[in-house]
């Protein structure tokens, strides 16, 4: 009999249903409440190209909320997957996209584009996305080059240390750009706190394609990530091509983070806390941890986005504020209770 280590199809179907239910809930709720039944029929009819029944607000559901909620879900899944992968790869439960310095690198690019009004004609937000991705890759190159020149084996401590130093450096550049950005200050600051308002179906499509490509690459390395999570020397001894796997996973993670940052801004703590909590349920085996983190990350960020929309309605909180607030408190709680549990 052949045994699989991952989840059974039933678990996947159930998780997808829960995610879909949360998605519908988040679309129907908001400053203008649209009944759940109407929401479903609007989405259904719009997708099939059927006429919308009288009195239903198609534009708000289909063109404003739906793409936004989908983007929130995809960004949540991406950030959470990246965090889970990094925590395994670097064998450090505190690792996450921001630890590597990728998100701060990407934010330099995005902030530059916002502050100096760089845009691509015919594609709203295209300028920000392009520069964010370019800067995410550039940062990865800088970080890896520095790491290699210091330490050929790319030891995890070196990467984390360089990532932290690089984040500080990026922070100073971002502050510098803000100082020079006169009339754009408000846009830049609001973007820095993370915001999903104005997400479009195009954004959702870009996120979906990136997640499909990079996510497949990362999931493919589940077993190698298990080996890394046990220890890099152990991974080498059982025959993992340590350097190659590390490079591929890091490139996939930085591409994914570059795209999410360009669309959603810097949304902190999702990549740190969600995999951490998921691991408590699934255990550390990446064959379960990675897909489960994607589902829980998606659900978490959709709900966080809903919260940011309704709590001060009609005013809107930046989603980064919500995730950082919830995330940091949860994290302290987890950290404290696990330390106490260990005695």
């Amino acid at each position: 009999m052949k045994k699989r280590e991952g989840f059974s199809p039933t678990v996947y179907i159930l998780s997808s249903l829960v995610t879909l239910a949360v998605l519908l809930l988040c679309v129907s709720a908001g400053s203008v409440r649209v009944p759940l039944r109407d929401t479903v029929s609007i989405i259904w009819n719009s997708v099939l190209g059927l006429p919308i029944p009288e009195g239903m607000s198609k534009s708000i559901v289909f063109f404003v909320r739906l793409p936004r909620v989908i983007c929130a879900g995809l960004i949540g899944a991406s950030l959470s997957l990246c965090g889970a992968a990094m925590q395994g790869l670097l064998r450090n439960p505190l690792a996450d996209g921001s630890t590597l310095g990728i998100s701060s690198g990407a934010s330099i690019g995005a902030v530059l584009a916002l502050a100096f009004g760089f845009s691509i004609p015919g594609l709203s937000g295209g300028g920000v996305m392009l520069t964010a991705i370019i800067f995410a890759f550039a940062s990865l190159m800088v970080i890896l080059t520095l790491a290699y020149s210091l330490d050929f084996s790319l030891s995890t401590n070196t990467i984390i240390l360089i990532g932290i130093v690089f984040s500080m450096f990026a922070g100073s550049i971002v502050s510098l750009v803000i100082t020079f950005s006169d009339e754009h200050v408000k846009t830049v600051v609001f973007w820095l706190m993370g915001s999903l308002s104005g997400s479009s179906f195009l954004n959702a499509l870009i996120l979906l394609v990136t997640l499909a490509v990079c996510g497949t690459v990362i999931l493919r390395f589940s077993r190698e990530l298990n080996a890394f999570a046990i220890g890099e020397d152990n991974a080498r001894n059982i025959g993992v091509n340590v350097r190659l796997v590390k490079q591929i996973v890091l490139v996939a993670v930085s591409a994914l983070i570059g795209v999410t940052v360009s669309i959603g801004g810097t949304i902190n703590f999702v990549g740190l806390v969600i995999p951490h909590m998921t691991r408590m349920v699934t255990g550390p085996n990446h064959k379960k941890l990675l897909p489960a983190s994607m589902f829980s990350g998606a659900v978490f960020l959709m709900l966080a986005d809903l919260f940011s929309r309704v709590i001060l309605s009609p005013k809107e909180l930046p989603i980064g504020v919500v995730t950082s607030f919830v995330g940091s408190i949860t994290f302290v709680y987890i950290f404290y209770s696990s330390r106490r549990g260990r005695g």
């Binding site: 009999m1 052949k2 045994k3 699989r4 280590e5 064998r91 450090n92 439960p93 050929f152 084996s153 493919r220 390395f221 589940s222 077993r223 298990n226 080996a227 999570a229 046990i230 220890g231 020397d233 152990n234 080498r236 001894n237 059982i238 025959g239 993992v240 091509n241 340590v242 691991r279 255990g283 550390p284 085996n285």
Partner: protein, 253 residues
């Protein structure tokens, strides 16, 4: 099986292994002995790819540098000195990873053959009962045996152990060495182990490499290498006198 030619390892200006050459044959149990800092573990690190070396390492005549990591892992299994685990993997999950080098694709499930090796490794190391337990809850000895089981599941032709009984009490030391002896007899494989306990080295080893300050002092059959005279020079004390005075503590009046 394994041959080292002019193997040297330097960290900056510090030479930790200096021009060492040796051959390891089939069905041999080679003990690497010597004082702290002699370069014993460095030999293991060079073979595992964890230390950059000059010179050549050959396995069955093939240069290790030209082999893929998974190919090397199918031939050579290495048990590192101490393995700290950060996450709560189960004993079984860790042992399963020993079969990594044999997996065909990234999503291929564990085969029946893999399972046989995993079961055998669990049995040999006596871990069957705690297979589903988290490694974080294990004692140092049990953890060490988990990684020993992993490397046995790897089914290597040459097993390299860096101080295999480091965390083990006397009973487990004995049972581990007996177990490895059985494994060699059953499978006809070879073992290299780094040891501090010279009595264990003499009792179980067929051959020995005696190291001192990064250089190979002597190599060959264990009885010829680990002599009272040589050990006296390397350790700067009469090892036999010391060990027999230790044993004399047990003589009852």
């Amino acid at each position: 099986m394994l041959e080292a030619r002019n193997l040297s390892v330097r960290y900056g200006n510090l030479s930790v292994l200096d021009d060492v050459s040796f051959k390891i044959g089939k069905k041999e149990w080679v003990m690497i002995a010597g004082p702290n800092g002699a370069g014993k573990s460095t030999i293991v690190n060079a073979v595992s790819g964890g230390a950059p070396y000059t010179g050549v390492l050959l396995f069955e005549g093939k240069d290790l540098r030209r082999l893929k990591p998974a190919e090397i892992a199918r031939h050579i299994g290495i048990l590192a000195q101490s393995s700290h685990v950060g996450y709560s993997f189960t004993v079984e999950e860790i042992i399963k990873l020993g079969r990594y080098a044999y997996s065909k694709g990234a999503f291929s499930p564990i085969s029946r053959k893999d399972e046989e090796y995993i079961e055998r490794a669990l049995e040999l190391t006596g871990l069957s009962e705690i297979r589903r337990q988290s490694v974080l809850t294990l004692s140092g000895g049990e953890r060490q045996r988990t990684f020993l089981a992993q490397v046995l599941a790897q089914d290597p032709e040459l097993l390299i152990l860096d101080e295999p009984t480091n965390h083990l009490d006397l009973l487990y030391q004995k049972s581990t060495f007996e177990m490895i002896k059985t494994w060699i007899e059953e499978t006809g494989r070879s073992v290299v182990s780094v040891v501090h306990d010279l009595s264990l080295a003499k009792a179980y080893g067929t051959h020995a490499l005696l190291m001192n300050k990064g250089r190979l002092v002597a190599s060959g059959a264990v009885k010829e290498v680990l002599t009272r005279e040589r050990l006296g020079v390397v350790y700067g004390m009469d090892v036999y006198d010391w060990l027999s005075s230790m044993l004399s503590q047990w003589q009852e009046d």
